[in-house]
Amino acid sequence: MVRFENVGMRYGTGPEVLRDITLRLDAGSFHFLTGPSGAGKTSLLRLVALAERPSRGLVSLFGEDLSRVTRAALAPLRRKIGIVFQDFRLIPHLSAFDNVALPLRVAGVAEAKLRDNVREMLEWVGLADKLDAKPPTLSGGQQQRVAIARAVVARPKLLVADEPTGNVDDAMALRLMRLFEELNKLGTTLIIATHNAALARGFGRPVLHLENGELAATATARAAS
C-alpha cells in the first residue's frame, strides 16, 4: 500500500526535515506515528497524503512509483486517500452535510447518488441530527466527527490522520479511536499521528516513532513486521 525507501524531504532550500525514511504499510494495517513536536510527523503524513513530493528516495503508493506519476494523474490517487486534520479543516459556511459531501462532489458523483451515502456517514459518526448544522455551531468533538465522516465518505483505501484527538477531551478521543478501529476492520489502511504515546500504546498497534526527522530503528522494525 505505502512504501518509502531512503526518503528525504526538505521545504524549499531549507534543511531536510525527513531523512532516510524507509517503511512499509501493508494494505489493511493500522499504524500510529509518534514523536515529539518538530520530529517530522506532519511532514511524513503530508508525503503519504501526496501533499508534498520527496526531495530524494522512492515513494510508492498503491503500487505506483510516484516519481513516474504525472501531476495530472495524482488527483485520482488522492481520491483514494482520506485525511483527518487536527484543526478539522471544515469549511465554515457549508453545512455538515455539504462538508461531508465535498469529496464526492469533487469526484463528480451525482447529487442523487451521494445523498444517502453522506447521511449514512453522518449517522455512523452519531451526527444524523446535525445535517444542516454549520461547523461553528458544533462542539470540537462533533466537528472532528464531521471531519472523519468527510475523510471516509468516498471509501478511501488509506486514511491519514494528523493528531485527530489533539483538540478533543479524553472521552471523545477514545470514541474517535473506536471509529478508526471500525474503519480498519472494514479494510481501510490507517496511519495516525499522535503525540499521545499512551493512547497509541493502549491500542496495541504498531508504532512508527520519529526523532529529528528519522524513524527510530525499533519502531521501524515493528512497522515492517
Binding site: 490517487l77 488522492r78 481520491r79 486517500i81 459556511h93 453545512s95 455539504d98 462532489r105 445535517l131
Partner: protein, 296 residues
C-alpha cells in the same frame, strides 16, 4: 440541505467587494468610449453625406451695380456637365450665417461680403472639377470653387484621431480589467489557501478549483457590469440631451455634433457586461490554473 454552493467562502475576502466596483467603473468608462466610437462613425458618415455632391463658389464683393461677374459665373455653372443647380445665396442669408459672430447691428452695406453660389451636383454624372474651376476663373478672375474637400479631410482626420483615442481607451480599460481581476484572483487564492489545499488533497483537479473562481468572477463582474451599463446609459442620455440643447441654439450653427445612438448601438453597449463577465471569468481561470500548477 441546500443546493450545493461554492466550496470556497468567497464572501469572507475583500476581493468580493472590490471586483464589482471595479467592473462597474470599467463598464461605465468602456460604455462611454464605445458610444463615442460608434457616434463618431455615424457623424463622419453624415458629414460626408451632407457635403458630398455640393460645391460653393465664392466671388469677390460686387464692384458696382454693373458688375456682371455673378451672371458670368452662373452661366459657366449652368453650362457645366453634371451641375444640377446653381443658386446664388442672397445677402440676407449670408448675413444670417455670420450673425453668430458679428451680431445683428451691421447691415450688408457696412461689409464687403463675398457673394456665394450654392452648387448641387448630379450624383449620376461625373463632374470635372478641374475644368470647371479653370472655366470659372477664366470668366471671373478671383472666383474660388470650394468642393469642401479640405474641410472634409480635416473632419475625417479629427474623427479618426478621436476614434483611435477611444479605441485605445477601450483597450486600456480591458488591460486594466485583466490585471485587476488577476490581482483579485491572486488575493483570493492567498486568502483561501487552506480551503484550496483541502480541495487539492481531496483529489480535486485544478479545473474544479478554477471553476469555483470562474463562477465567482462571472457573478461579481456581471453585477458590477450591469450597474455600470445602467450608469453609462444614463450618462449618455444626459449627454445626448445636452448636445441637442447646444445644437438647437443658433438654429443653423451646431457647436457640438448631437449624440445620437441607434438601436444597434444600444444593443452593442448592452453586451458590455457580458464581455466584462467573460473577461473576468477567463482571467480568473488562467490565473488559478497558473498558480495551482505550482502545487505538487
Amino acid at each position: 440541505m441546500s443546493a450545493p454552493g461554492l466550496a470556497i467562502p468567497f464572501g469572507r475576502d475583500g476581493s468580493s467587494r472590490f471586483l464589482p466596483a471595479l467592473t462597474l467603473l470599467m463598464v461605465f468608462l468602456a460604455g462611454l468610449a464605445l458610444a463615442a466610437v460608434m457616434d463618431l462613425e455615424r457623424a463622419l458618415a453624415r458629414w460626408d453625406e451632407s457635403l458630398t455632391g455640393t460645391l460653393t463658389v465664392e466671388l469677390p464683393a460686387a464692384t458696382g451695380p454693373n458688375d456682371k461677374s455673378l451672371d458670368a459665373a452662373l452661366a459657366v455653372l449652368h453650362a457645366a456637365p453634371g451641375v444640377k443647380s446653381a443658386t446664388p445665396i442672397d445677402s440676407a442669408t449670408t448675413m444670417k450665417l455670420i450673425e453668430p459672430w458679428l451680431g445683428t447691428s451691421l447691415s450688408p452695406a457696412d461689409l464687403e461680403l463675398p457673394r456665394l453660389i450654392d452648387v448641387r451636383l448630379d450624383p449620376s454624372r461625373r463632374t470635372d472639377l478641374a475644368a470647371l474651376r479653370a472655366k470659372l476663373t477664366e470668366a471671373v478672375p478671383n472666383a474660388v470653387l470650394d468642393d469642401h474637400q479640405v474641410w472634409l479631410d480635416r473632419l475625417a482626420h479629427f474623427a479618426r484621431s478621436a476614434e483611435i483615442t477611444a479605441i485605445a481607451i477601450l483597450v486600456l480599460i480591458g488591460g486594466v480589467a485583466v490585471v485587476s481581476v488577476s490581482f483579485a484572483t491572486r488575493t483570493g487564492l492567498a486568502v483561501h489557501r487552506d480551503t484550496i489545499e483541502l480541495l487539492h488533497l481531496m483529489g480535486a483537479r485544478d479545473s474544479y478549483v478554477a471553476c469555483q473562481f470562474e463562477r465567482q468572477a462571472l457573478r461579481l463582474a456581471l453585477i458590477g457590469g450591469v450597474i455600470g451599463l445602467v450608469l453609462a446609459a444614463a450618462a449618455l442620455l444626459a449627454l445626448s440631451q445636452a448636445t441637442n440643447a447646444v445644437a438647437f441654439l443658433g438654429d443653423s450653427v451646431t457647436l457640438l455634433p448631437a449624440l445620437h445612438l441607434r438601436g444597434w448601438n444600444w444593443a452593442v453597449l448592452a453586451i458590455l457586461p457580458v464581455v466584462a463577465g467573460l473577461v473576468a471569468m477567463a482571467t480568473a481561470r488562467l490565473t488559478v490554473l497558473t498558480t495551482l500548477r505550482r502545487l505538487p
